[in-house]
């Protein structure tokens, strides 16, 4: 008989029902994705709301990235649910005392916000394809343009106001969308590892650094692929952003961890066994050491020494990659770590992820790849890079 579930090995005493771990690697990927959404949107807002010119080159790219990520956000949840076909129950009859119930509305609202904002940002290109394009794409863009090809000064004025307004609304919306994920964990009284008022800010800050890192990485990679020079001021701005938020994130994570150990509530011995045992590599080595301190030192060096050129770009990319890894590890250590510490305070369970299966590592990996695939496809249709002239775009399209 095919086993429907995986029993987890345990040590000490755990409640019998804890020998099956409820939330798998998919629930690690989900906050990671919403975090990346919030982070890329923040980068985009730095230009669109706060008018910081150095972020202009990546602002539209980050906006599109946020949308592609957002569209993939429900995927890990749907793969995890016992009854994904009933997922809308949480929106039809939302139980307002539950943070999960907020998800449906917050995510829908935010997805629509990103859709509309991206629509405004890319509307000139959509209109152009609607007028001058060929094939089915032309018809799609004709629908998308809502039957209007008005690109006059007057129309663009409205567009800019909308972009601004949506970006402004988008900031609290992103905070809500990702902050609630932290609240999902932090508000529970059943797990000492999760129960903390600092969870929402910790999640938010790590979201911003993950999004910023992703933008850095993708900006550099796509610029290299397009053989286009990289704006150093943009990279510098992103480095400053990453640096600042990374420090802040580390501070709060450190305070949260220190408080837990300091309070030393009942069950602390088991937590200490875990922290000094199974958690050493994923937390101290990977998340803190390699993923946080190394980039922090690197970024500090870059800023203090005013490093320029390829060294700056290379070091920024390396730091970004490590931070992306660190934030993934942070999600893992919170979600999986919390479940590995038994509610009894007397035992530990071991999560052994499966490779295949609906909630396996391959499924999680595929979900993580999906936004990149969507970005790739989206950028075949519209271009997020300002410096490419429209004529060049058309020429390229006619040739292909």
């Amino acid at each position: 008989m095919e086993t429907l579930f995986q029993a987890a090995p345990f040590s000490g005493y755990v409640y019998p029902n804890e020998t099956v771990i409820p939330w798998s690697v998919l629930i690690v990927v989900y906050p990671y994705l919403t975090g990346l959404v919030a982070g890329s949107f923040t980068v985009s807002s730095l230009f669109h709301v706060f008018g910081m010119e150095q972020f202009r080159p990546v602002s539209r790219f980050a906006m599109l990235l946020a949308l592609c990520l957002m569209v993939c956000v429900p995927m890990p949840l749907l793969l995890h649910l016992g009854h994904p076909e009933r997922a809308f129950n949480a929106m039809i009859t939302p139980h307002l005392t539950s943070a999960f119930a907020i998800f449906g509305y917050a995510a829908s609202f935010y997805t629509l916000l990103l859709l509309v904002e991206n629509w405004f940002v890319f509307r000139p290109q959509i209109v152009q394809i609607a007028n001058e394009g060929t094939g089915p794409l032309r018809w799609i863009c004709r629908v998308l343009s809502l039957g209007s090809n008005d690109l006059s000064e007057h129309a663009m004025h409205y567009d800019h106001k909308w972009i601004y307004a949506l970006a402004v609304i988008g900031i609290p919306a992103a905070l809500g969308l990702h902050g609630y994920v932290g609240f999902v964990f932090g508000s529970l009284k059943s797990r000492e590892w999760w129960s903390s008022d600092l969870m929402p800010p910790v999640f938010l800050l790590s979201a911003v650094i993950s999004g910023t890192s992703l933008v850095i990485l993708l900006y550099v990679i796509t610029s290299l692929a397009r053989k286009v020079p990289i704006e150093e001021s943009c990279i510098k701005g992103l480095v400053y952003t990453l640096w600042g938020f990374l420090m802040f994130a580390l501070l709060l994570e450190g305070v949260e961890f220190a408080s837990l150990l300091y309070r030393s509530r009942e069950g602390i011995e088991t937590i200490m066994t875990y922290v000094t045992g199974r958690l050493v590599v994923p937390f101290f080595v990977l998340q803190l050491g390699l993923g946080s301190l190394v980039p922090l030192l690197t970024l500090s060096f870059l800023i203090v020494r005013g490093v320029k050129g390829r060294a700056l770009i290379g070091a920024a990319c390396a730091s970004a990659l490590l931070v992306l890894f660190a934030v993934l590890m942070m999600r893992w250590n919170v979600v999986i770590g919390g479940q590995e510490i038994s509610k009894t305070g007397k035992g530990l369970v071991t999560y052994e992820p499966e490779w295949f299966g609906r909630e396996g590592l391959l499924a999680a990996g595929s979900v993580l790849c999906m936004p990149m695939i969507l970005m790739f496809l989206a950028t075949r249709i519209v271009t997020p890079w300002a410096e490419e002239s429209r004529a060049a775009l058309l020429r390229g399209r006619a040739a292909s």
Binding site: P16, R86, A165, V168
Partner: protein, 283 residues
């Protein structure tokens, strides 16, 4: 031609405030409409339950009862009949990882401060039982110097302020008028947030049905005037069940005549399983 933001003629502050206002109005309108459409009285009942018909079962009025459970852990012999009976009565998966009720054994060995605690999923006990479909405590301490040992039966506490109900996003789990916390298997989406929220580990995921599951205090029996299966089969009457509305019920008398405790009172869940015979180390 760039189509990025150009500075408007109107002062930026006014634009900002105007847009904030518009944005808030839009968001507010959406949220408000959603709330109005959705909030049919939130958690307060809209219709009184006694509309003439007995609900939810013939001859049973859920307004008339307030049920509670009691456990005398000093009597429990760890025979696990309750575990077997519950699995049979409620068609629970026959393995060592899904339990609506279970028994814990605490054994303090000589010279040790902390007890050894074990329960059904322990491989030694599974081996003593012969398979995961049967349940038995291995007599692992028979040759040891045991200072103190005892058994503690556990089950869902059907709390008055259940954390699981609080976190359910859909309303698939709820508290009934007569004090039961139940799960609607046709509505649950299987997110398992409730499994995380329960401090007692009473809930689990029913992999066969794709929904969460837990002890129901045998609602289908109680509404027929029977006792829960575990209470019926306990050979030493360590488990008791009764109506708190009846001052002469076995549970009412139990609470009145004993110094009773509940598990993890600091959670504020206000559990409704009353114990005597707990120990400092019982979680």
């Amino acid at each position: 031609m760039t189509n990025d933001t150009t500075k408007p003629e109107v002062p930026a502050r006014r634009i900002f405030l105007r847009n904030i206002g518009r944005g808030a109005a839009c968001a507010g309108a959406v949220a408000g409409a959603g709330l109005i459409a959705g909030a049919h009285g939130a958690d307060t009942p809209a219709t009184p339950a006694s509309d003439g018909q007995s609900f939810p079962a013939p001859g049973y009025d859920w307004n008339a009862h307030r049920w509670a459970f009691a456990v005398d852990a000093t009597k429990c012999i760890g025979c696990l009949r309750c575990v077997e009976a519950c699995k049979k009565e409620n068609h629970v998966a026959l393995d060592a990882h899904h339990f609506r009720t279970w028994v814990e054994r605490y054994a303090y060995l000589e010279g040790e401060e902390k007890p050894h605690v074990d329960s059904m999923p322990d491989p030694v006990n599974i081996q003593a039982a012969g398979s995961e479909e049967k349940y038995r405590f291995a007599n692992r301490y028979k040759d040891a110097k045991v200072e103190k040992a005892f058994f503690v039966p556990k089950l869902c506490n059907h709390c008055t302020h259940p954390a699981c109900v609080q976190v359910c996003p859909t309303g698939a789990t709820y508290k009934t008028r007569d004090g039961f916390v139940l799960i609607d298997h046709k509505y649950c989406i299987g997110c398992q947030y409730c499994v995380q929220a329960c401090p007692y580990g009473a809930r689990f995921f029913n992999h066969a049905k794709g929904v969460t599951d837990k002890c129901t205090w045998c609602y289908h029996r109680v509404t027929r005037g029977l006792m829960p299966a575990c209470v019926e089969v306990c050979p030493v009457q360590a488990r008791m069940f009764g109506d708190l509305n009846d001052p002469k019920s076995v549970v009412s008398l139990f609470i009145r005549n004993n110094r009773v405790q509940v598990l993890k009172p600091e959670t504020g869940n206000a559990p409704n399983v009353y114990y005597i015979g707990l120990d400092k180390e019982v979680v």
